[in-house]
Symmetry: C2
Subunit: 414 residues, 2 copies
């Protein structure tokens, strides 16, 4: 725990101690958006504290500066917010209460890519749809498989999610129908916000440089319409089944804050091609011990019920490998790009990161523990709220991610 003059930031369970200092974008009534960091349980540092990056309406300009600038600003902020006596009079002027502000999307997302990097998730889904013998596609162990997602529909935590309509084919012998999605799902993911100078189109990003493109992480809920997805995704991949909303938590946790939770990545067998090999000393070529939970609240006012307890460690491919593979054909990665991990499922059934897996394709009921009357789910119902949380628990301190939540609205008539 690094001590701060902000008292609430010094509690071992506070998600935003001085060691964390995640970045976000906020506005207050009558003020325009600006960059901020979170410190303590509620307050924020506002635009007045530091250099010009805090007067921007998105993080993009700061992202473009690259790692040396990120580290410099982090050190300066940690000094300004430390427990040194000279700083103690900053608080009232500079920090509105978090309850008085609105959080926004932290960056203008350029391109958004969704990977598929949890072996348990890929095996689960493959087993359901192709049987245990053909569960993994032949390329899965050779590359971090990913697909381009929709950037315009990435929204910040708290944005309501309208149940999508689209083409479904509930009866495979009959023609498809137009209807509201019946199998609405969440996907528990971690998102990486990309920064640093853009690699020139046509040039790759070697493993030892990939990590410098990682600014930080946020939680992501990749909402998925399973019935729409099933009918549309062959042969070109998921499309409308995912592009109605993708929620991220408002705080971007700098990679530096997660250093104490670094671990060796999962062993990869077969050995990967040389361009994907790295040392664990390389930034981002590792895994992180971050507890991830998904809670479902079926009725406003009731306590949310935990339906999934997973961990970032359940990813097979590292973020560095995702970036290097993304750019291997020469794709230019730009500050503001977002790359998601794919659904993070653990081995145990309680650690599955989607309702598709938790209800095993709708064959099992998921019991909601905290409801006043017995309540179960197979997929999401209108009015349900899904809340994702992430915590890395250190020795006397916690690095929290802030909530990633969304409430399901009924399908729109128009």
């Amino acid at each position: 725990m690094q001590p701060s003059f902000v008292a609430s930031a010094c509690d071992a369970s506070c998600p935003f101690p001085l060691n964390n200092l995640p970045y976000g974008v906020f506005s207050q009534k009558d003020t325009s958006r600006s960059v901020c960091v979170a410190i303590g349980d509620r307050p924020l540092v506002t635009a007045k504290t530091a250099g010009t990056i805090f007067s921007e309406a998105t993080l993009n300009a700061f992202l473009a500066l690259g790692k040396p600038a990120w580290l410099e600003v982090r050190v300066a902020l940690q000094d300004a917010l430390s427990a040194a006596p000279k700083r103690q009079n900053m608080q009232a002027e500079l920090m509105p209460l978090q309850s008085d502000v609105t959080m926004h999307l932290p960056a203008k997302i350029g391109d958004y890519t969704d990977f598929y990097s949890s072996l348990n998730h890929a095996r689960n889904v493959g087993t359901m749809f192709r049987g245990p013998e053909n569960a993994l596609p032949p390329n899965w162990l050779h590359m971090p498989i990913g697909y381009h997602g929709r950037a315009s529909s990435v929204v910040v935590s708290g944005t309501p999610v309208t149940r999508p309509c689209g083409q479904l084919r509930p009866n495979p012998e009959a023609p498809p129908v137009f209807a509201p999605c019946r199998l609405l799902d969440f996907e528990l993911e971690m998102a990486t916000l990309i920064g640093g100078p853009e690699n020139e189109l046509g040039k790759r990003i070697p493993m030892n440089e990939a990590g410098d493109r990682i600014f930080g992480f946020s939680l992501m809920n990749d909402w998925s319409a399973r019935d729409i997805q099933k009918w549309e995704y062959v042969p070109l991949g998921p499309f409308g089944a995912k592009s109605f909303a993708t929620t991220i938590s408002p705080w971007i946790i700098p990679l530096e804050a997660l250093e104490p939770f670094k671990q060796e990545p999962q062993a990869q067998d077969p050995e990967v091609l040389p361009y994907l090999r790295g040392e664990s000393s390389m930034r981002g070529h590792c895994t992180y011990n971050i507890d991830l939970t998904v809670k479902l609240q079926s009725v406003a006012g009731e306590l949310p019920s935990t339906v999934c307890r997973s961990n970032f460690k359940n990813l097979y491919w590292t973020v560095a490998q995702q970036i290097t593979h993304h750019a291997v054909t020469g794709c230019n990665m730009q500050p503001g790009d977002l790359i998601a991990s794919g659904t993070i499922s653990g081995e145990d059934a309680s650690a599955f990161g989607s309702m598709l897996e938790l209800s095993w394709k709708g064959t099992k009921e998921i019991a909601l523990e905290n409801c006043d009357s017995p309540t179960t789910r197979k997929f999401l119902q209108d009015g349900d709220t899904v809340v994702m949380e992430g915590h890395a628990v250190g020795n006397g301190f916690t690095i929290g991610f802030g909530d990633c939540s969304g409430n399901i609205l009924p399908a729109s008539k128009e």
Copy 2:
């Protein structure tokens, strides 16, 4: 032909008569980028001519204004550039030669989507890979299939294209290898630039409103690494095989310029679901008679050889249907989004829009007619230049699209 005081714009074969007036973005040495229109064989109208949209560095602000503003500006420009005597002294001041300017990407692309809307192309590719009985995926006739593409790698005509490296698996019994792409291809497509006010996330775009979101068209070459694509695309769709470069022509042809070339769309059987049905009176729910050619120049200095003669009419799904389907789950379409048609292949083998089809998966040689010594191709070689052209030929006038070209550079060592 609408007469203009610009003499070169009054020739029946001039691609940019007053009826066309396509939009682009240019810069001159020592000047920053600004919006322009093309008039005549070479000149451009510069920023001084019209309102503030011409001082912007991209078309995005103009795109956002929507159809009424687009029509108003078009009428004003056609008046200013007409053959009325009062205008005749504008030329020298306002119009640099096209050879003195550099053309840029006309818009900041938000999201880029690639459809798959030519029945001939889908049948060809399906027949090659799954046999004639299973050529079409079961969903193909029910919806315009599309996938999200990479926006950052969309480049303007003339940008060199570096042969991508990536994972290939030439021997399906052996592990994959890392190597330069061996089966580099083009795809002849038409791109639609989206404008108009964004539909709110969660709201659909009905067929009768879809057309108002169409600003105009440009040519597109969706460069494709067939061997990388084959190994990566199951189950989540094309990824790195497409994201190394996607070239568009610099001019956006307003939909109004194409009115004389409107035709009834292809008959659709089975009948589509009601949300995709429209009247041919609906803007964009039609096809257009636009001749499209692809030329290949194997050696600098030699005449390019025509390898494909196709037509926009070869699309089964209309642009209005693409937009309505894209938004059916509530996806917000933003000004600056780009949606591509998919490879436009005709029925005849000379009208196939990719080398994959022209060489029938590499089983046939494509002869280049204009080479000094006999030259053939199955896929693209380093040094090849691909030029796509589009022309709609009316009664005494031509609506030209401007070239969409790119030269293949050898694979990068880094």
